[in-house]
Symmetry: C2
DNA sequence: ATAAACCTTTACGCAACGTGAATGTCAAGA
DNA sequence: TCTTGACATTCACGTTGCGTAAAGGTTTAT
């Protein structure tokens, strides 16, 4: 039995373009070409196509398939195991992605649930997105996943009142940092009050507080340009000032 | 603070090409372009880039990101949920793929374990690949996953002797079908013996046998071109002949 | 002044085809 | 016989998100 492209394509449930492509990349050549230039396939080609489709269904790339089909069964087995490893990696990566997306959705849902009026737009944008984006990785690395997970959980469970409170706290904190910074003395009462406020602000997100962790965080503000940029918006140079004040506040030498 | 491509790229941990590309597709335009044609970015652009990277980390396509960034938070939420759905689909698909690859690996491992000498190359190629490829789907659909899973399990557990036995049985079966077909009478003793052999052959793979299932399988040989082609290799037209003989053998009217 | 380090645009490459465009071939009906 | 419609052919561009030159202008440092 002989087949033209269309026939074979229908038999195999693929497109004619695919067959021409397979011809082009030398993965499946027709048995012969007739006088009009038509591709003619035979039984041998059907068998090969079946094998190709078999590996294709396993997600193997055409390039790999080409070499697989020409190699011994030993190498086929090896190739499959390598492919398997790749798939597992992909899966793990995908699961991480899904978890992150779910977390983000949960956050936005928590927010919209609490306020239909997008009252907390600015708050959320600053707190959640910036926190997850900027702080997420670093905090995860330094203090483990638990820290940021509980952070997210806390945000979800917060009442509107709490949101307002934190909003106010944040404003007060920034104000305090600014005034203290303008005064210039990290050991001043104003500066130490700012540190206290920063601690209170932090306590809203951290499950357990430690001076060391607090100091570490503020030091990180200084070390990472992105953090510095964020805090220096209050006043240029105030990130370092905050760190110095915090050294005194926590008594931790870093 | 102003940034050139290189500066911003280093800050964000991406390539300059990426920034130029984002400019090209209108996803992140520089604040201005200086007299030498250099791209100059500002704080606003940093913030936007952070948002872009945030969504990018979630696996959202750049096209979607562009619309997301211009839309309300409500629509952002919606887009995220849609994206989430897509990811779940992808995951499911990937898991299926992995399961199939694992199954295939298990099969080849079973085979190589049983025979280092690639003694069963032809057998394996015909039995496992063709079975899984051609028969897998249909059998699954008609008789559930259990049927083919137990089939695979059985193959794995088979001893070399059993392989030889089945090989011989297969040859006998084909021989019997051929002779019976040449005689031409589906009710002949030869034809009924072929049916009996086909049943014995089947029993090596099926956990429980039923006349109905057997008849259904053979009818499927007739209905599906690919099956027909396979059996007609013995002799053109013999698939239908086998079906007719099987009607008498099983007494099932289909 | 000259080299190093930066910037620019242009454009091909990647995987696996989809989707035309322009044109040739074949079997069948008026 | 002529035409129509279904098939075939070969280009060749589009898809995604950039990587990677190539060929050239600008800025900075020595």
């Amino acid at each position: 039995m002989e087949y033209t492209v269309k026939k074979l394509a229908e038999l195999a449930g693929i497109s004619t373009r695919t067959l021409r492509y397979y011809d082009e990349i030398d993965i499946l050549k027709p048995a012969r070409i007739n006088s009009s230039g038509y591709r003619i396939y035979g039984e041998t080609q059907i068998d090969k196509l079946q094998q190709i489709m078999f590996y294709r269904e396993l997600g193997v790339g055409l390039d790999s398939i080409k070499t697989i089909l020409c190699s011994s069964s030993f190498n086929k087995h090896d190739a499959l195991r390598e492919h398997h490893g790749k798939l597992l990696d992909k899966k793990q990566q995908l699961e991480l992605l899904i978890a992150n997306v779910e977390k983000t959705i949960a956050m936005t849902e928590g927010r919209t649930y609490m306020s239909d009026k997008e009252k907390f737009e600015g708050f959320k944008k600053k707190m959640i997105e910036e926190n997850e984006l900027k702080y997420g990785k670093e905090v995860r690395e330094k203090y483990g996943n638990g820290t940021i997970d509980s952070f997210n959980q806390k945000i979800k469970n917060m009442s509107e009142e709490q949101y307002d409170l934190i909003q106010k706290l944040t404003d007060d904190l920034n104000e305090a940092i600014k005034s203290a910074y303008e005064e210039g003395d990290p050991s001043s009462q104003l500066a130490q009050k700012a540190c206290e406020l920063h601690k209170m602000w932090l306590l809203n997100y951290w499950d357990q507080y430690s001076k060391e962790a607090h100091m570490g965080l503020v030091q990180m503000y200084v070390d990472d340009e992105r953090f510095t940029a964020y805090y220096d918006k209050i006043a240029p140079g105030c990130t370092v000032f905050l760190r110095n004040a915090m050294r005194i506040f926590t008594g931790v030498e870093e």
